[in-house]
């Protein structure tokens, strides 16, 4: 892990603090107010904010523009980029565009399949995959070169991250898969939402046994349930999501009006337990269309105030 901080998030991790990130989805329109409002709400409680890139393949305002809005209001963005919609020319060009605004963090993803979104009849690109996207940014940043070999004038300088889903199948390659992302050049990882803590712990043990936690910062992903219905939906309908029966039951056994509160409780308990797991360097709180709850979660999980760094 290199010593010069490339972003606030990076510095937080370098100095050994538990980092906190969150994420916001851009609007389905050109009015940036909503995303600015979301960012305003959470900015003092997190170190950086991920901006999703047409998540679930539903067309939205682009991640890059939303990142620029955040940056201009003094909030540190994490640019999410999927390989679904861009070929290698567009990818490199977008990286340079982001770098020209000094967007300091980037998360490399392959993206949900377009069949989930609002353009199921569209083509997908997948010229390169998420691992190769990590390699591409690292090449551009560290060697100052394009994929074609030419020199870049003022190369990008991002802190490079990737996603990991400890719960997808096949489980036996989930640690090797992380190793692959680290080998490709990932410096931080944000995980899929964690509800099955035992399984996550098993995965983290495998990660630590291979010493990967010393090569990459792992931010554990959490998402509070708003309702029992959401818990059931996540369990049954979201591919690669692992929600244990007892968690669904706990939500379902709670009276309807108390369910949001119970969802937050579960989330905070999870963070408490995750703090005790070796190799966890921070948290990625994805409060889907519920950003106003992020401050409460951060405070109650004793992650507030955020450490002062310059």
């Amino acid at each position: 892990m290199s010593d010069t901080a490339r972003s606030r998030l990076h510095r937080m991790l370098l100095e050994g603090h538990l980092a906190v990130t969150s994420e916001c989805g851009p609007p389905r329109g050109s009015d940036a107010e909503s995303i600015k409002k979301k960012a305003e709400m959470i900015k003092d409680y997190v170190d950086a904010v991920n901006i999703t890139d047409n998540q679930t393949s539903v067309t939205r305002l682009c991640s890059m523009a939303a990142c620029i809005h955040l940056k201009l209001m003094g909030v540190e963005p994490v640019l999410q980029m999927v390989t679904r919609d861009r070929n290698r020319i567009a990818i490199q060009s977008d990286i340079l565009g982001a770098a020209s605004f000094d967007i300091p963090n980037m998360l490399c993803l392959s993206g949900d399949h377009q069949s989930f979104g609002d353009c199921p009849q569209g083509q997908n690109v997948h010229d390169i995959d998420s691992m190769q996207l990590i390699q591409t940014v690292r090449l551009m940043r560290d060697e100052g070169k394009f994929l074609g070999g030419a020199e870049i004038n003022r190369p990008p300088n991002m802190f490079v991250g990737a996603a990991a889903n400890p719960f997808a199948d096949p489980f036996e390659i989930r640690v090797p898969r992380l190793a692959k992302k680290v080998a490709a050049g990932a410096e931080f990882i944000q995980t899929q939402c964690i509800y099955n803590l035992d399984k996550f712990e098993e995965w983290m043990k495998g990660v630590c046994d291979r010493g990967l936690h010393e090569k990459v910062y792992i931010l554990a992903g959490v998402t509070p349930f708003k309702s029992a219905g959401m818990a059931k939906f996540m369990k049954n309908r979201v591919p690669g999501m692992d929600v244990p029966d007892e968690v669904v039951k706990r939500m379902a056994d709670t009276p309807k009006e108390k369910q949001p509160e119970e969802g937050i409780n579960i989330c905070i308990e999870s963070i408490e337990r995750l703090k005790t797991i070796k190799g966890v360097s921070g948290f990625h709180i994805m409060a889907i269309e519920w950003e106003q709850k992020v401050p409460e979660i951060v405070e109650r999980a004793e992650l507030y105030p955020r450490p002062k760094i310059d």
Binding site: S115, M131, D169, K180
Partner: protein, 222 residues
């Protein structure tokens, strides 16, 4: 082989409704095996069209011929003497055959009678599935003999994605996840450690990205 599917008859009628003399031209190769454009399907289409026209009060002459192949000059030559007697030819060959026919009989109206779908195999009678996308630079050696380009919905060279669950792909619970298959096969081969080798960014210039492709073998040219 090339897998094709019969076009709806309404669509075919739309192309040829104005004709008085028609040839339905089948092909004895892939489309016969996948039962979309062989002799039998030629018979069914011809019979249905004849009755359709009769029901419209028109007697349209519809002939049936099935060639050994439609992607070779020598077989296409077999209809040289009759081709121009028809107002149109409906070819039940794959897209290659239809085009080769159209090239050869330059001023003849030629229509496709099937939708050409993919390169696949007969998994069981009546069920064909995709295996290859003819990318031009085969990587099966690195992926346990299972193609992630044709069989992974995101053609990930370093998969699986986070959506793989219970061996199935995130886009459809009936579809096998190609990367689950790859890992299972690597395991069976005792080569799971190969999984950790990063596959390089692919040269897609041999794929459709590089424009129309050709293979030239000077050693066998005459």
């Amino acid at each position: 082989m090339i897998i094709a599917e019969k076009k709806p008859i309404e669509e075919i009628i739309g192309y040829i409704d104005d004709c008085e003399k028609l040839l339905i031209l089948g092909c004895n190769e892939c489309v016969t095996v996948c039962e979309a454009g062989g002799k039998k399907e030629v018979g069914v289409l011809a019979s249905a069209l004849r009755m359709y026209f009769l029901n419209q009060g028109r007697e349209v002459k519809i002939d049936e011929i099935t060639l050994e192949r439609q992607c070779d000059h020598e077989y296409l030559e077999e209809i040289r003497d009759v081709a121009d007697q028809y107002d149109a030819i409906v070819s039940l060959a794959c897209g290659v055959g239809v085009q080769f026919l159209a090239e050869k009989y330059h001023s003849q109206r030629v229509y496709p009678g099937v939708n050409t779908c993919f390169l696949g195999a007969t998994e069981e009678r009546g069920r064909w599935t995709e295996r290859c996308q003819a990318c031009g630079t085969c990587i099966l050696a690195y992926t346990g003999g299972i193609c992630p380009i044709a069989r992974c919905a995101k053609r990930l060279l370093n998969g699986p994605c986070g959506g793989s669950s219970n061996g199935k792909c995130e886009i459809n619970p009936e579809l096998d996840c190609a990367w689950q298959l790859i890992i299972d096969r690597l395991k069976a081969l005792g080569r799971l450690e190969d999984y950790e080798k990063l596959l390089e960014i692919k040269d897609w210039s041999t794929d459709r990205a590089g424009g129309p492709r050709k293979v030239v073998r000077e050693d066998i040219q005459i």
